[in-house]
Symmetry: D2
Subunit: 359 residues, 4 copies
């Protein structure tokens, strides 16, 4: 109930606070006998890491991980896999200025009201640092997905009003990591980077959209009527800090289309496979994958922490003026790319395993 | 796993096919000693009912319900409540023309591939008729929510390109049921109705957006980090047939705002309550309700069943031309309003009960 | 949470009261494309049926069932299967004498305290009539288990101090249904029957032990460390009304054995299969089936309802004298045999499906 | 599904192998704002610790623990609590002799068959060392139970044929820790100890029974019909390594009693409280606690590891002779006492929280 676990068969339980001893995850239900890819985990962690470029926070956090259980002789055993990243140099005193303030659009107020008590050090459990554990788990999920030919690629498709004007078919996924904003089009990326730098200089923040494309998902993933594949993906993605919206396939654009335009007509494609002529369904029909690319988008809000004076309340419910200190991301979207991939991987592996029941 | 149950404490298990004997729900975890409001259930069913107006399908389905268990002397007992709606006049022969076709953008293909076998009568379990059970369960949830002062009102805010141009504050919720499209503005409603009628005449279909506003939700509902309130609402809503997108508060519009515009500043409002100056958070911060109105939107695609010739494949994977027979909704959005309310009620009651642990 | 569902992949939700409209079950996660064996269900129901012999209650309850969903053209579809048995001739007035009394060793007191309100008609939800739904679900589980070569046979091995003095190897399972007490040894059965008749004449009741043997379970069922196969079986069996104890393999007898006696030595048996020389493990090692027969026992208490005067409290907490009216079982054990089989089938199918993940 | 988590609201996920880096637990759903009692945890760990007396294994394992998350300023925060115990001096080479053998009555064979691969170091995940994590979680549960007046005391009531001949009422619980076998009667304890020493000298092992008494449990814990309190306790206890049987209240002895003897008559006791005259129900009626002491027993088999030659198979399925090396417990029962208490505490806290829904 307490909501720190996710998944059905591939089940993860995450833990840790921004400034506690460690963050981590226990992964139950991982297939045994799979080579544990240490490099993949580290590579994914590095994409989420703070301080990775001039458009992220300059704060450096150590992101090396340890394996506490579940791996023997380099392979998974079927026992729970526990991975942790230790926090370094926690100095709670650095956060005393947050102790008595309810920061605007943060979860300080709701956490204190719900739990009656709050770990105020860098946001404690509400901090986006929590997503380290998601990335760890996602990397483990990918170890199996890679084996069965499923790839997941997320990228930044919009920052503020700067949009990537390409169809999915036009995108070269190998370009995603070519720039620090993770937009697979250098010209658009440069505009995005310039905007983020400008916003940073203003002490402000900006949001954006991440698009995710999953290739190689076979027909059959999804458990209607409530655990439809896109519904579970939606929950997984909406649970990421700062995410405000999720859409599958045509998404909100479907509203201004007619059925005759929107329907995906079945056909035998040039590879002699069953396919649909268009993919407004985003690869999922009736809640079950149909073999086409799974395509979804997620909206991320501008970071709440800004270096400008804002009115708010303190914990005595008095009006105060507050301005954030320290180093913060002006735009969290590029660093959210590996998190979106991780949550997607977790869902896809879980639903792959659920679907094995029908084999 | 098999995904026909939903919820944690207030847990529902739905069943039934479009043309089986009955549809229904078993509700486990309902509070005992609550007056069972038969009229509320029937009233909600009637809002979902086919044939209710000229812009819905003309097909008449009986929507009277029976209570099989869990209610004694007019009150809930704490035992599982089972409610069913019987289907009438099922004639499978009427559906023989669907037996061997994969209709475009329906789940015929994915169901047959996943389960190896398909109840083709009116779509079987994939039919939107399944949502009868959701409405039944939602009405039961409302019996408690009403008692604790929580109201849920959904309405149609867009059909194709016709938008309701009103802020939440400007809306008179009592107007929702004043017109058959469930848009709380008669002028806009009339335009929507005219458009739907025109689309119907063309044998086509059209989609739209439903906005939902929950008032009276206290601070504290939501179970981070995975079971954030808006993540669970997102899953609940995205699991409804034809839903393609979900957004909370500012949603996708957050992307083009800066942090300094988007942040909801805390203040003491005119009623001497803690409030936020704006509500871009949509009533949820850090995944936990903050006492403000919960506001979200959902996109519904144009119905897949249209009375136009379309290319598709049959179950022998041959190209065929297909045109739907019978009577169908040109626009499902007005009838989806009670379904959105029902799923919202189910989530809110469940999270209310989860939050009682902290009392 | 509310505890009326059971299982992980093969998940059942039961409902209904002793004197409500109907009892039944929704089965989610049943494999599709399985022939639905109507005769098997009816046959199992008949074994549980009251009034089946002179040693059960003389009360006649109708046990014919209806299929509300999930079966199409005689086969399962993968959609939830709903089965119900309607109650007949409920006359709540017949139970007015139970309204204000807390019967000894019944759940009247605990239900009223927990839920604040109680369906007193024949015990409502606490009645053993609830087990009708378990038998319905168990029969469905057996439809798959039969296909994969797993058989489950339970029988009465003790009534009061009359024990069946046979090893598992000596038992002819085809004899179980040869007598009304379901003990596969006519001589012992006759003694048991005579004892039950005598106890019935005294207005008293008597308990007993059921032994269950599962053959054909392959190696690998069980999910350590908490969902060990015998732990789940234990929960399933202990949840049956009147069950007070569960033991696997050697059970409580293991206490007076030494390790050198108790250890099951691995060997290649005469059929050239891996086996253990003895089976004190009861077919489960480390929580996982090892391919040997699964053997467990369950203790059932003497029925609480007796036709003798007993002191107790009424709902105003005053001392009263109470004597049960109506017709009741002097011994519930023979009728519990199909219930034990049903719960075992439900667990075994669920764990079979869970284990498919590793295929 | 993968079975390394347990509980509904108070939910634990355990991890770790006998000779991995660490064992531990993530506890989700702990109440916030509770003083974290470090001494209680260490005290409970010490009761489970190997090498604590002459009748346990002489192997010394370090049992100091670390808190990785969920505790801030000495109090629980409502975030997941992670506790670990690091393993020391793992030398896999010490276990090479186990690599290719299926030890009798161990889980070597079933693990290797199920997972296709086995961590053979000291049994890996199947080792009873896994129970360290259960004790850690149980201690946390007790922090709340102590506050609400619930106490749990387990003790050894039988070793082989040496029984504690006292009623529950005659037991002085403060005597449990007076001797190394944890039997609250010194004379009986001495006999037990002598027997264990003798068995140890023979290179053999012996089993026993643990009785557990829970005082102060209010009326209302338990979620019928499947999650009856004693059914969940049964599962919890049966999931402990070496446990072969569980009985509540009168248990298997109920079989030879008549209803007129077995029924617990309600009365107002000398403290003017509602009580039952006897407690054959073991404090649970209809699956719900009735306010009386909860009393259950569990049977533990003689340890499988003995220092005698035994026939078995190696992993090539050849007959071999095997004799255990190293230091092992001749009797695991005294060390299982804190484990039984821990699992009981975990269940009781979980069901307390579940019951809060009805407040």
């Amino acid at each position: 109930m307490a909501g720190n676990s996710f998944g059905n068969i591939f089940k993860i339980s995450t833990f840790g606070e921004s400034h506690g001893n460690a963050l981590g995850v226990v992964i139950d239900g991982m297939l045994p006998n799979i080579l544990f890819d240490f490099n993949l985990v580290q590579s994914d962690l590095n994409k989420r890491k703070p301080g990775q470029s001039k458009i992220t926070t300059e704060r450096i956090e150590d992101e090396s991980f340890e394996v506490l259980s579940g791996v023997f002789e380099g392979k998974t055993t079927g026992a729970p896999i526990t991975l942790i990243v230790k926090n370094k140099n926690q100095n709670p005193a650095d956060y005393n200025h947050l102790k008595n303030v309810f920061r605007p659009s943060h979860a300080d107020y709701t956490f204190e009201q719900k739990y009656g008590f709050r770990d105020y050090r860098g946001g404690g459990r509400q901090s986006a640092r929590e997503t380290v554990a998601r990335v760890l788990a996602g990397s483990v999920a990918k170890m199996v997905l890679n084996d069965i030919g499923i790839s997941i690629r997320a990228f930044v498709s919009q920052i503020h009003s700067i949009k990537l004007e390409k169809n999915i078919e036009q995108i070269d996924f190998s370009e995603i990591e070519n720039n620090i904003v993770r937009c697979p089009d250098d010209e658009t990326a440069n505009k995005m980077i310039a905007l983020i730098e400008q916003v940073k200089a203003e002490g402000d923040s900006v949001g954006g959209i991440i698009t995710c494309v999953c290739k190689g998902v076979p027909v059959g993933f999804g458990e209607p009527v409530f655990n439809k594949l896109h519904a579970e993906l939606g929950k997984a993605i909406l649970s990421i800090n700062a995410c405000k919206g999720f859409e599958i396939g045509s998404g909100f654009d479907c509203v201004s289309m007619k059925g005759s335009e929107h329907n995906d007509l079945f056909e035998i494609n040039k590879n002699q496979q069953i396919a649909t002529h268009t993919n407004h369904s985003g690869g999922i029909q009736g809640g079950i994958s149909n073999g086409m690319d799974i395509v979804f988008k997620a909206a991320f809000k501008p970071v709440s922490t800004i270096k400008q004076n804002q009115y708010t309340l303190n914990t005595s419910f008095e009006n105060i003026e507050f301005k954030a200190e320290g180093r913060h991301d002006p735009c969290v979207v590029p660093r959210a790319v590996p998190i979106v991939e991780a949550m997607t991987a977790i869902v896809l592996l879980d639903y792959y395993l659920l679907n094995k029941v029908y084999c």
